[in-house]
Amino acid sequence: MSTPTETAVAAARARTGRMTGAEAIIRSLEAEGVDICWGIPGGAILPLYDAFMACDHTVEHVLVRHEQGAGHMAQGYARATGRVGVCIATSGPGATNLVTPIADAFLDSTPMVAITGQVPTHLIGTDAFQEADITGIVMPIVKHSFLVQRAEEIPTAMRAAFHIASSGRPGPVLVDIPKDLQLTEFDFSYPDEVELPGYDTDWITGVDQAAVDAAADLIARARKPVLYVGGGVINAEATDELILLAEALQVPVTTTLLAKGAFPDSHPLSVQMPGMHGSKYANWTMHRSDLLITIGARFDDRVTGKLDAFAPGAKIIHFDIDPAEISKNRTADVSLIGHLNETLPALRDAVLANRNDERIRHQIDWLNEVQGWRRENPFRYRRDGSTLKPEYVMEAFDKALRGKDAIWVTGVGQHQMWAAQYLTIDGPRRWITSGGLGTMGFGVPAAIGAQQACPDAYVVNIDGDGCFQMTMQELATARCYDVPAIHAVINNGWLGMVRQWQELFHDERYSETDLFGTIPDFVKLAESYGCLALRAETEAEADAVIAEAIAARRPTVIDFRVDREEKVYPMVPAGAASHEMLDETWENEWVEDGV
C-alpha cells in the first residue's frame, strides 16, 4: 500500500462526470488522496460497498470485525502519519459502534473522517429499521458533522469534512449519507474549496511578535523555567523546532503521555512524563518551577493533580493552536495562538537576542537541581528472580528494537503506564496511545492501522489481558491482510489498574477485577486466528520470544505471564497535589523537602 502521488490526486480532483452518490463518495476519497479505509458493510451503506467493487479506483478497503476496530485502525493510521484516517459503517448499530473511536479521536485531536450510511431520506424520523440519529448522538464528540440532504452535496460535504478534520486543531468529522442519495445520479465535480464562514483558520498563520517578546521577557526573568510539552507539538509537526528551542533555552523538557516522542526521551534535557504516573523529577520540576513554557498542552487533570496546588509559584506561557485551551484550567500570563512550527522559532529568535549571563548561571543551577532529582529517583522496579516483571518486558522490548524504526501502541491500564515509563521514544508519531478517553481495546486495532500505514516499521502493541479481550477479534483482520504487528499481552490476570486503586484506596476489596481462571489460552486463541503465538513466563523466555517475534514479520501474539501483583509507581493519588507521589520504599531515596 502506497500513498497516491500528487499527480494521481490532481487527476482525481479534476474528474467530472455523471455518477451515483456512492461512486461520488469514492471519487471524493480519491480526490482527498485517501489510499486506505476501514469498515463493515450493511444495508444503509450497501450502495457504497457495491461501488467499491463495481468501479475502478485506488482506495483500498479493509474489512474489519467490529466497527470500533475500524475507527481505531483509522486512528492508528492517522497518528502514525498525520494524515486523515477514514472509517465506514452502516446506519444504526454500525454507526453507534463508531462512537467510542470518535470520542477517542476528539479527545486526542486525531484527524478522522467517519462515513456512515443512513436510512433513506423518506424514512428518516420514523424509527425505521436500523435508524439511529448518529449526527445527534455524536454531537458533543465531533469537531463537526454533516447529514447530507441531497446527492449533489456529497462532494462539498466530503471536501469540508476533510478540511475541518485536518486543519486547525485536528479532530473527527462524521458524514452521514442516506441510502437513497448513494443511489441518486448527478453530475460530479470536486470543489477545491468549500465556503465555511464559521470556520476560519487563515488567521492562525503568522506570529504575534508582541506576545513572543512578552514570552521572551518572562523567560529572561525566570530562574526555574520548564518546557511543558503536549500532543500539539506532534500535530503541528514541530519537533525539530522544539528541540532547537529547548537547546537554545537549556531548560528541562517534560512531555505528556500524548507528547511522548515530540521531544526525544533520550535527550539530556528530557525529564520524561509528568502527572499521575509520571517521573518524580518531572512532577517536582513542574512543582518547583517559576515558569511553565506550555507548548500544545492543556493542563489535563491527570497531569496537574489538584489544580490549586499545581506549580504554585509558576507563571504561565501558553502556546497553542486552540484559543479555547488558553486559561481554561490555568490562567496564562502570556499566550500565543499559532502554528507551533512558526511560533517556536520566533520565540527562539527572541530568546537568543536576549541572552543574559545571569540567567544562564541560574539555569545551570536549576538544571543541576533537576538532574539531582533524576539521578536519585529513576523509574525503578525490583526483579525477584522468580516472577517475570512487566517492567522487564518493556526494557527487553526497548533494547531489542533500539535503533530500528519502531512504533509503539498501547492499551489502557498498568501496562500502558509501564510502557510510557520504560520505553524510549525518540521521534514523533512513534508512540500511539489513548490518552484523553483512556479507551481499553484501543491497542490491537490501532496497531493494525499504524502497521498498515507504515508497512516497514516494527509495530508493537503493548496490551493488557483485559484490553486485549475487548478487540482481539481484529486478529482476524491482521491475519487476512497479513499485518505483522506484534501484540504483547502483559497478562497479569487482573484489570490491573483498577485492582491497584482497590488495593491502595479501597481496603483491598477487589470488586470484579480478577480475570484469572477466566482468561482464554491466548496462545491457542492466537493460533486459531492463524497468528504466530508465543508465551513467556521468565526473563529468559521473554528475551527469546521477543527476538523470535521481531524476526517473524507476521501477525504475532505473545502471552507474557507477569507478576500478578506488580503496581505502577510512582503515583499521584487522584485529587492529590502532583508533587505528593506515592512510591515503594527505596534505599538512598532523595526525599523532597519543604514543598
Partner: protein, 176 residues
C-alpha cells in the same frame, strides 16, 4: 473564579438544521443553565441569530464564547453589554378583568405601551414589547387583578449604533 452574573450572548449562525442543538448542547455539556434563549432569522435568509442569556462567572463566559466559536456553524459571537444595547422581550399576559375593571387595566397597559391584543368577557390579553425589567414591573402591577396566563419570548438584543466599536463587542478571533 469570581461572582456569577447575567450575561447575554449573541451568536450569528448559519441557518442550518441542527445548529440550535449544537449551540444549546454546548451550554448543557459545560454545565451552564440557560435563562433565556431566542432564535430568529436575520436580514439574510442563510443566517440566524441566537441570543442566549446565562448566569455565570466572567471566566466561564469567556470560555463558552471560545467554545461557541469552535462550532463550525457559528460565524460570530459577542457579548451584548446592557449599557450599550437595546434588549427586548415580548410578553403575552392574560389578566382577569371584568367589564368593571377593564378600563383600569387598560390604563395600566397604556402606561407601559402594552397593546390590548384580545378582549374576553372576563379577561384581557395584553401584549407588550419592552425591556425585560419593565415587563417584570408590569407583571407585578397586574398581579392584584389576577394573572391567568403569562408567557415571554426569550430576550433579543442589539448593540446601539452609538456604542463605540470594541467596547460592546468582546470580539475574539477564534477558530475551530
Amino acid at each position: 473564579m469570581g461572582a456569577t452574573n447575567h450575561h447575554t450572548l449573541s451568536a450569528l449562525v448559519e441557518n442550518r438544521p441542527g445548529v440550535l442543538s449544537r449551540v444549546a448542547g454546548l451550554f448543557t455539556r459545560r454545565g451552564f443553565n440557560i435563562d433565556s434563549l431566542a432564535v430568529g432569522p436575520t436580514e439574510r435568509p442563510d443566517r440566524s441569530v441566537i441570543t442566549i442569556r446565562v448566569d455565570c462567572t466572567r471566566h466561564s463566559v469567556e470560555q463558552v464564547v471560545k467554545q461557541l466559536y469552535k462550532l463550525v456553524d457559528v460565524i460570530d459571537v459577542h457579548e451584548v453589554l446592557p449599557e450599550s444595547a437595546i434588549e427586548r422581550e415580548l410578553l403575552l399576559v392574560k389578566v382577569q378583568a371584568d367589564a368593571e375593571r377593564r378600563s383600569e387595566v387598560m390604563k395600566l397597559a397604556e402606561l407601559f405601551d402594552a397593546r390590548v391584543a384580545d378582549v374576553g368577557q372576563t379577561s384581557l390579553l395584553l401584549e407588550c414589547v419592552e425591556h425585560p425589567d419593565r415587563l417584570a414591573a408590569l407583571e407585578e402591577l397586574l398581579v392584584p387583578y389576577g394573572i391567568l396566563e403569562a408567557i415571554r419570548t426569550g430576550r433579543v438584543a442589539m448593540t446601539r449604533s452609538s456604542a463605540p466599536e470594541g467596547e460592546s463587542k468582546t470580539r475574539l478571533r477564534v477558530m475551530g
